[in-house]
Structures are given as C-alpha cells and as structure tokens.
Assembly symmetry: C2
Homo-oligomer: 196 residues x 2
C-alpha cells in the first residue's frame, strides 16, 4: 500500500473505533454523524469522505466485531492439541462473544431498517469462515486418529452439519437458557463418539 492508502485506512479505522463506542452507548437511532465527528475532533465532511451514512459506518462496525469474534475463536483453537478440545474452545469462545454482543444484536434487530439483509450478509460471511475452520479441525481429527478415516470424503458438508448442531444450542442465548456449557459438553461427547 502507498502512504496515502495507509493513511486512509488509518482514518477509516479511527472513525469505526469512535463510532463503535458511541453506538454502544446511545444506540443507532440517537447517534448522529455530528456525534461521531465530535468524538474524533474532526469535521463531518471528513466522515462523509469515507462513509456515505451512519448506517454505512454501522455496517463497518459490525464487520469489525465479527472479525474480532472470529479471530478469538481461531486463537483459542490454535492453542489446543486435540480435535475435541479444539471444537470445545471454538464453540465456547463463540458463545461467550455472542453473549457479550447481545446488546449489539438487539440494536440490530430493532433499530436498523435494513437489519434483515445486513444480518443475512454477516451470517453468510461468518458461516463460510466457520466452515473452513471446522474443516481444518475435522481434518486434524482424522489425521490424528481421533475421528474415523471414513469422514474424510466430504468434510465441508460434515463441518456444516456439526456447526449447525451447536448453533441450535447457541440460540439458547437469546432465550435465557441455562446450563449452556453443560449442554455443549454433552453434545460434544455424543458427536465425538459418533465421529470415531
């Protein structure tokens, strides 16, 4: 990247960071471009040079948060030495992150008119990266004789099914379910035995 491009990226990142804090505090509806500009000590025109609207900034904030969640899942995964514990930490890290971001999810579902499309696009993006991660984990499990060689034939399909199975439990977060960790542990035990 050239110097100007790097500087552009830095300013964009600074805007997103400032907006992230303000959105968390006041929600999307009450926040104005003026508020975000003020928080940065810049003029509104700077913001409009990089983003067309506060919704546009909000989408970037969401994408940043998704990347953060995914990065923390990958980091937790890399520290583990078995496929079983890799799956466990990935799911539990995701659940913890989702729990922390429930507030953001509520803003999304009530304040953003385009939230359905936005959430759909976030979901697809996140889902693709998650499948790649689980394909690696399952492959690791086969390579290390934790899982049966027979599952190797269609790992992306299997990864999708395993992720979905846990996703069913993750929805408990939105419905004040209890014992989520115990439920994850039980499902993990059944799945690991089923994959042997």
């Amino acid at each position: 990247m050239t110097g100007t491009l790097v500087k552009d990226e830095q300013i964009k990142e600074a805007i997103i960071q400032a907006a992230q804090k303000i959105f968390q505090q006041y929600g999307l509806t009450k926040t104005t471009m003026e508020d975000i500009a003020k928080a940065m000590g810049k003029g509104k025109s700077t913001l409009y040079y990089y983003f067309s609207s506060k919704e546009d900034i909000f989408v970037s904030v969401i994408n940043k948060e998704i990347n953060e969640v995914f990065d923390s899942m990958v980091a937790a995964c890399q520290q583990q030495q078995s496929a079983r514990t890799k799956i466990e930490v990935v799911i539990k890290t995701k659940v913890k992150a989702l729990h922390n971001k429930l507030n953001l999810y509520r803003i999304l579902s009530t304040e953003l008119p385009c939230s359905r499309d936005l959430m759909e696009s976030c979901r697809i993006q996140f889902s693709q990266r998650e499948i790649e991660l689980f394909v690696e984990i399952l492959q690791f499990g086969v390579d290390h004789q934790e899982f049966s060689e027979s599952i190797r034939s269609n790992l992306p399909f299997l990864a999708y099914v395993v992720i979905s199975a846990f996703r069913g439990l993750e929805f408990d977060l939105f419905f004040s379910g209890t014992d989520l960790d115990a439920k994850i542990d039980l499902l993990l035990s059944i799945l690991v035995k089923g994959l042997q």
Copy 2:
C-alpha cells in the same frame, strides 16, 4: 362438558377455522373482525362474545396450527419400530410442516406487534411437548438396546440437547439452505452412533 359449553367450543372452533383461511389469504393487518364475521355468516357481536380482538383470534389460530404440527409428528412417530426411525420421521415431519407454515411465520414476524412475546410463548409450549416426545423415544431406544443404558440417567436434558442439535439445521429453512434431508440424515447417523 354441558351442552352449552360444547356449543361454545364448537362456535369458537368455527371462528378459528374461518379466521385461519382469511389470515392466510390477506394477512393479519388487512383482515378485519367484519371480514371474519362475514365469512361465517354471523354478526361481529358473536365474535366479540368469544374473542376480545382479531389478535386474540390470531393467537388461537397459531395454537391450533402448533397442535396440528405436533399431532402429525406424534402420529408419524408411532408408526415406526426403531428409535432411529422415530427420530427421523419426527424431525422430517416437523421440517415439512415448518416449511408449509413459513408464510404464517412471515406474517408473525412483520405484522404482529406482540409477535416476539407470542412466538416466545409458542416456542416454550411446543418445546415442552417436544421434550416429552423425545424422552419417550430415547427411553424406547434404551429399552430396545439401540442406545446405551448409561444415557437413562438424565433423559430430559439429553432430549433437549438432541432437539437443539436438529433445530440448528431447521433454521436452514429460513435461509434457503439446500440438502436439508441429507443434512438431517448425516446428523442422525452421528448422533445415533454417539448414543450407542
């Protein structure tokens, strides 16, 4: 029940049936109490004797539909001779019914202001009956040596986890997923092996 109570129930049922058709055709917002009364050849006052509002009728329609879905799941289950096929037909019957009711779900999520609370109450009701059904199936599986004796200790908790695992796949219905039956079959194979 006395004669009057039976007659009251019959009229309520007739109102619900008439409303069901009209809601499906026009949606909740466009339908009036007048429309429902007209379709039955009754006056509005008859409707208001049994229901306080069209939203009240709508809730009864939803409950009726939920009962129909659940009854079809139970009927399919009873015809099967193994725990594995019982789970398979229960889930596939549910998925098929949900697919047919997608339109209703869309009305719910966009037209009904109280849809969140209503859906939450429907979800809890349905979920409790589903857990009881799965406890029976899992118990049947243990009794017939399909599943390990060791799972008998906490069947309601296990039933919840198994239902949730499939629920993760059921959400595919709302996001135009493909190969849902193949995904259900794969998850079922893994879970059944994991429960042996």
